[in-house]
Amino acid sequence: MEQITGSGSRRETPLSEEVELENFIRELFESQKLAVLGTQNQGQPYANLVAFAPSDDLKSLYFVTARATRKYANIEADARVTVLIDNRSNQDSDFSQAAAVTATGTAQEVVGSERDAVLTIYLAKHPMLEEFVRSPSCALLQIRVETYYLVRRFQNVMELHVK
């Protein structure tokens, strides 16, 4: 049987694709401090900035918020959230060179014994927020990510679904 191939074909296994994308997201997260958080209440979307940190396996994103905030109220009403993390630099070149990761998932407060372990990760990335996170009026939240949407080169989009 005649297989149809062209010249210079370069096949990658799905495994190496996964590794490449995961590494890319990891590096992007390391390079950025702030994320745009999207919440909603009664159909009204709401976006704001949060200081985030990822878990080592990238399955969770953590952030800290005061409990009196609109975002916290929104999450209490509906735990489904979205997060955007990108590396744009406000130049023309962003259109072709910036990358953005959108995550979707659900948010919940981290309590109990787990809290200390997560705070260690979180403060390693944001040491200046030490006092803020220790405040009794603040909540440490975990977003359990269901899907990442990675956009590169203006319109190349890959999805990563958490197993």
């Binding site: 149809i4 191939t5 996964e18 080169r153």
Partner: protein, 724 residues
């Protein structure tokens, strides 16, 4: 700010803004050497043009569609073509235009000029860009000068220039271009001088032709060549050329002319003149502090320097100069003609024979050691043809681009690929095959009884018009579409295909013969007399290049495939014998393992399954727009000719590369997605022919997309969306 400087005005701080070529000319003028009068356009004009028109951002977008390492050579060329067309169709901003117009009109009134590139960073000792950017000879009038300046700017983005900058590790995006507008000195003998022979450091080399230098530089005229002793200038040897032609000026351009008999018999330079050129080269060397590559011309007895640049050192240091390869991408018409003959009559048939010989070998019957030998042979053949692919086939493809460039310059179409319609019109065999299939499908469409009985695999009598047509088709095209399945299933496979075709209205070909003729005439009518004849020849060459271009891909694909089959066979054996995974191994390791049962190859490291956190799914894949239109439908991944016949009307054809043997299902398809990128590939041509949306150059298209996936193919933007 002054954008245009005369050579005399250029100061020592201006090197970056006027570029290496202009700076060298200015240096020579100041030291009393005879240089044609010239005006230098600073790189600031280029930057102002890119910024004001927004072209700069568009170029960035063009180059960031894909990882540069994944861009095939042909895609790079497409990008270069699109960018060049952007430059052609984007006029200079009015204030820039009017200020330049008045400068050129007042300082070079009524002169014939040469418009040349002068790239900052170019012509330094480590990065001599000789011949990478364009020069335009015999340009007349301020308007024409400005048009050609845009072409010179565009040449910064030619695929040759891009590949070369990439090889030197220069950032593709950070680049700049100045220009020089030089009074044309119509010399009757011209040439180049290398102050130091890169291959023999104690020698100098002088090459010379009659007429203008262009024929020597683009390789269409063989020069007389002298080797001299660098120490004393004595001629060591003279290699006379077979002198036949010369390049002379013609209205608005240059042309090749037969050399008068008296000149054919005599070298262009006397020994005294050779010595004079040598002294010129030494003078330049002294001035610039390193051996120079000097272009010069004699007007009567007067010797002019046209340009001077350092002899690049990278080639000499590395023992090989890959500039020659980039340079070969710019072969002259004469060169391409002889290359065509060689490729057409020798190389392609030879490659075809080799592929067929491999295909006849039954790998499963070979012993392990014979299989190892077979694998080694196939690897060797693969490497050999890969070299030939780069050294002969790709340069020949320049026939297509040469035609495309001439067409775009003459016609200035809004669609930079319009010329492809003229070249693709040579696809007569596959179109003829498709027409006959469509005629039979029409019979089924119009005859319910016939349709019904064929659906039940009951065939009408031998003298039925349908049977007659089917027999005639198989007689003529049986061999063309003889995949394994077609051969074993015979008529049934074709009938199934015809029933699919009959289930929907006939696909319309976008072009009829007369449309193509109108396009051809629209192009040729812009030229007169001898020039028109040249253009007809160029069209013929372009069509041959296009046809061969596809053939070489197909046969090289077969060689690659034969190597792959041998690896597959080895993979099965080694897995059964010792649980060795061949995937990702160097073929040499596989050969060793086949020959020696105790050999344990180093395994390629892959991540373990339980470490995988995510399942990756493509959502939106970016390739190249190859045929306009948007369509949504179900994917059918074709990975072998045998599953071609499963194709259902209205599906989207997804494959690694559309092979001419596959094109008969194209009228059934709603759209095409292909891994192989580029506008000049078969899939793109045939998609345009039937007006189907087509996106090419999606890496891993056939593995990321699966049969049954719901896709949107956007042939305007060059993207494919996979719906969940």
């Amino acid at each position: 700010m002054e954008l245009v400087l005369s050579l005399e005005q250029i100061g020592s701080d201006d090197r970056e803004s006027v570029g290496g070529k202009s700076f060298a000319l200015a240096t020579m003028v100041k030291n009393g050497m005879k240089v044609p009068e010239a005006l230098c356009l600073k790189a600031d004009a280029y930057h102002r043009y890119l910024e004001t028109t927004g072209l700069g951002a568009r170029i960035l977008m063009e180059f960031n569609r894909k990882d540069f390492a994944e861009v095939r050579w042909e895609e790079m060329w497409d990008a270069a073509l699109r960018i060049r067309n952007l430059f052609i169709n984007t006029p200079m901003p009015r204030d820039l235009r009017s200020s330049l117009q008045s400068v050129f009109a007042s300082k070079l009134p009524g002169e014939s000029v040469v418009v040349r590139s002068s790239a900052p960073g170019e012509d330094s000792e480590h990065a001599s860009f000789a011949g990478l950017h364009e020069s335009y000879l015999n340009v007349q009038g301020a308007d024409s000068i400005l048009d050609h300046i845009r072409l010179v700017w565009a040449s910064l983005w030619s695929d040759r220039a891009l590949l070369y900058r990439q090889e030197l590790g220069l950032d593709v995006e950070i680049s700049s271009m100045a220009g020089v507008v030089q009074k044309l000195v119509s010399g009757n003998r011209s040439g180049v001088a290398f102050g130091k022979n890169p291959n023999a450091p104690h020698q100098a080399v002088i090459e010379s032709v009659y007429g203008l230098n262009q024929g020597l530089v683009d390789g269409s005229i063989e020069p007389d060549r002298w080797l001299l002793d660098r120490k004393n200038g004595k001629i060591i040897s003279h290699f006379p050329a077979d002198r036949k032609k010369q390049v002379v000026t013609a209205p608005d351009t240059t042309r090749l002319q037969t050399l008068p008999a008296a000149q054919q018999a005599n070298p262009p330079l006397s020994e005294e003149e050779v010595a004079k050129v040598f002294r010129l080269a030494l003078q330049a060397e002294e001035l610039f502090g390193s051996p120079q590559d000097v272009e010069w011309t004699f007007v009567g007895d007067e010797l002019y320097v046209l340009q001077s640049r350092p002899i690049t050192s990278i080639g000499a240091e590395q023992g090989q100069d890959s500039r020659a390869w980039y340079f070969s991408l710019r072969r002259s018409f004469e060169n391409l003609r002889s290359l065509r003959t060689r490729v057409e009559s020798e190389l392609i048939p030879e490659m075809q024979r080799e592929a067929q010989a491999f295909a006849q070998q039954d790998l499963s019957k070979l012993s392990d050691s014979d299989l190892a030998q077979e694998l080694a042979d196939r690897q060797q053949a693969h490497d050999k043809w890969k070299d030939i692919y780069w050294s002969e086939f790709i340069p020949l493809a320049h026939g297509i681009r040469l035609f495309g460039q001439v067409y775009n310059d003459a016609v200035r179409p809004s669609d930079p690929y319009e010329f492809m319609d003229l070249l693709g019109a040579t696809e007569m065999v596959s179109l003829e095959r498709n027409r006959r299939l469509e005629n039979m499908a029409a019979m089924i469409r119009e005859d319910l009884n016939l349709s019904h009985s064929l659906s039940n695999l009951s065939y009408p009598g031998l003298d039925h018009p349908f049977s007659v047509a089917l027999d005639a088709f198989i007689d003529k095209f049986g061999d063309l579409s003889c995949s394994e399945e077609l051969c074993t299933q015979g008529d049934d496979a074709i009938v199934r295909l015809l029933l699919q075709m009959a289930s929907r209205p006939a696909a319309k070909e976008r072009f009829r013969g007369e449309d193509i003729e109108a396009l051809v005439e629209g192009f040729l009518s812009r030229f007169e007399g001898e020039k028109r004849e040249n253009m007809e020849e160029l069209l013929d060459l372009g069509r041959a290049s296009y046809r061969l271009r596809d053939d070489d891909n197909i046969y090289f694909g077969m060689i690659e495939n034969q190597l792959r089959l041998a690896l597959e066979e080895s993979k099965g054996r080694l897995w059964h014998r010792a649980n060795i995974h061949v995937d990702g191994l160097d073929p040499m390791e596989v050969i060793n393992a086949l020959n020696d049962p105790d050999y344990v190859p180093k395994k390629a490291t892959v991540k373990k399954i339980d470490e995988i956190n995510f399942e990756v799914r493509p959502r939106q894949l970016v390739g190249q727009p190859a045929s306009p239109g948007v369509v949504r439908g179900s994917a059918r991944v074709i990975d072998s000719l045998s599953n071609l016949f499963d194709f259902k009307a209205g599906e989207i054809l997804v494959c690694d590369a559309v092979d001419p043997n596959m094109t008969f299902i194209v009228p059934l398809a709603a759209g095409i997605v292909e891994r192989r990128g580029g506008m000049l590939i078969h899939g793109a041509i045939i998609a345009r022919e039937y007006g189907l949306p087509c996106v090419t150059g999606i890496p891993n298209a056939a593995s990321l997309i699966h049969t049954g996936d719901e896709l949107t193919v956007d042939g305007y933007l060059g993207i494919v969306v996979k719906h969940s």
